[in-house]
Symmetry: C2
Subunit: 275 residues, 2 copies
């Protein structure tokens, strides 16, 4: 059985980087869960003594605190800095970027329009770097807002590009200058494109991820379109030897919240089948 991994699968760049940082920072705490995967958080705790803390007030003096991928609001960072000098920043660079952009653009006198969800931790962080930011999810919300002639815009990393275009098309009409920063991250779409490509060239396709995860289910749907023998599993225990009979090439993809070690266990188990 030949096993082929999709060109892009599982964790995105920012999450991989944050986990690596956590592994290299033993005896630390993350401020809020590092990522949304309990198994992985347990592993970091058991193997690397990376614990979890929710409340800045409870941070002990000069204890090592890791800032998670979503970033942190400016005032919360200041509060944290009062508690400890040992702060490790695992903010995804794709999130740090819009923070820096809105800070600079605010200084240069632009109105700041953020396309995203104001209740999401990533956007709370970005907002904190802007002067009077306007945060919207669609054009309707923008219409009543006061804007300067010069507007600078950023988008939440996980937003759909087509929706961002609608915001820009509206702003172009209303403002003399619109400075558009494309801060959308393609990770989810890259996983989908890679799964689509791979599923066309294999006999069986295994998609690993939570059965409630919308991005995993989307991957599975895409694979099923191209390869009728596609299966969605949460871990290696769900594999069935019979699936692989008379198959030559097995493709693997995984949802955005699936750690590599779970993927590796699936691969090992398939190899054990010796089909």
């Amino acid at each position: 059985m030949e096993i082929r991994l999709a060109k892009s699968y599982g964790f995105c760049f920012g999450v991989k980087r944050a986990i690596k940082i956590a592994e290299q920072t033993k005896n630390s705490k993350t401020l809020g869960p590092l990522i949304h995967n309990k198994k992985e958080i347990d592993r970091l705790k058991n193997e690397f003594k990376v614990d979890l803390i929710e409340d800045i007030d409870k941070v002990n003096k000069d204890e090592t605190i890791i800032i998670r991928t979503h970033g942190i609001a400016k005032n919360r960072l200041r509060d944290l800095q009062k508690k400890t000098k040992n702060i490790i920043d695992a903010t995804c660079p794709y999130v740090t970027k819009p923070q820096q952009i809105v800070e600079k653009m605010s200084e240069e006198g632009y109105s700041i329009v953020i396309f995203g969800d104001k209740n999401h931790p990533e956007i709370k962080g970005v907002m904190s770097y802007a002067k009077d930011p306007i945060v919207v999810l669609n054009v309707d919300e923008l219409e009543s807002k006061k804007l300067k002639e010069k507007v600078a815009t950023v988008a939440q990393t996980t937003r759909k590009f087509e929706e961002y275009q609608k915001i820009i098309n509206y702003l172009m009409q209303r403002c003399k200058e619109v400075r558009v920063f494309n801060t959308i991250c393609n990770a989810t779409f890259e996983n989908q494109d890679a799964a689509r490509e791979l599923s066309k060239e294999v006999d069986i396709m295994i998609v690993i991820g939570g059965k409630n995860s919308s991005n995993t289910k989307q991957l599975y749907r895409i694979c099923k379109e191209n390869c009728k023998d596609s299966y969605l599993i949460e871990d290696e225990n769900e594999l069935n030897r019979d699936w692989f009979k008379n198959k030559k090439i097995c493709g693997i993809s995984a949802g955005a919240s699936t750690p590599n070690w779970i993927i590796q266990k699936v691969i090992d188990k398939i190899r054990e089948f010796k089909v």
Copy 2:
């Protein structure tokens, strides 16, 4: 007969301004025709001794030269400055603006994308202020072009806004930063909107302009939709007294190349009818 003028009609701001400048600069020459209306150019020559010159080489030492609404390319301006110190700039401020923008943005290291016709005098002028400008009329033309991560864009003043949006939607996808300057001038659309509004409240509508002029014909079409007694005329000689019988309110609009004095003659003639 009550006569009502459309809120916006005839010459745009830039053309009106250029004619005023020419009238105030007797014994001068315009470099190329000031505007595209022969009757008006003849009037400037006869009444204000404003002549026409096409070739910079033929400019006499320190003779007074008027730069027309479209602007002038940087190198041609330099050539002209060698010939004379007396240069009067009648470039439309809406054209000067994109010239200044592309010059500044080139200095700041942006790729310059100009949405417009590279053979149009306005765009030739704007191009001359940019470093390696990319001039396109649609997205297809852009696809093969090399672009930096940072792009700044301007549009020819007379382009359609919806077409500019298409260019921006494409660039957003390809570049990290797109700095959109909305340099489209709404004059044509303002004339149309005003004619539409006025034609709804009058009994007869007179549209003055060239019968071959596409913007005049468009005005006439809009008026006809709202007022069945709409007429398109080139000057006062085409007016027919019978049109005005039993009419109380007469609306007036005019194409973008119609001088005010022709409009005035039409109004005077209608008043003479004493309907």
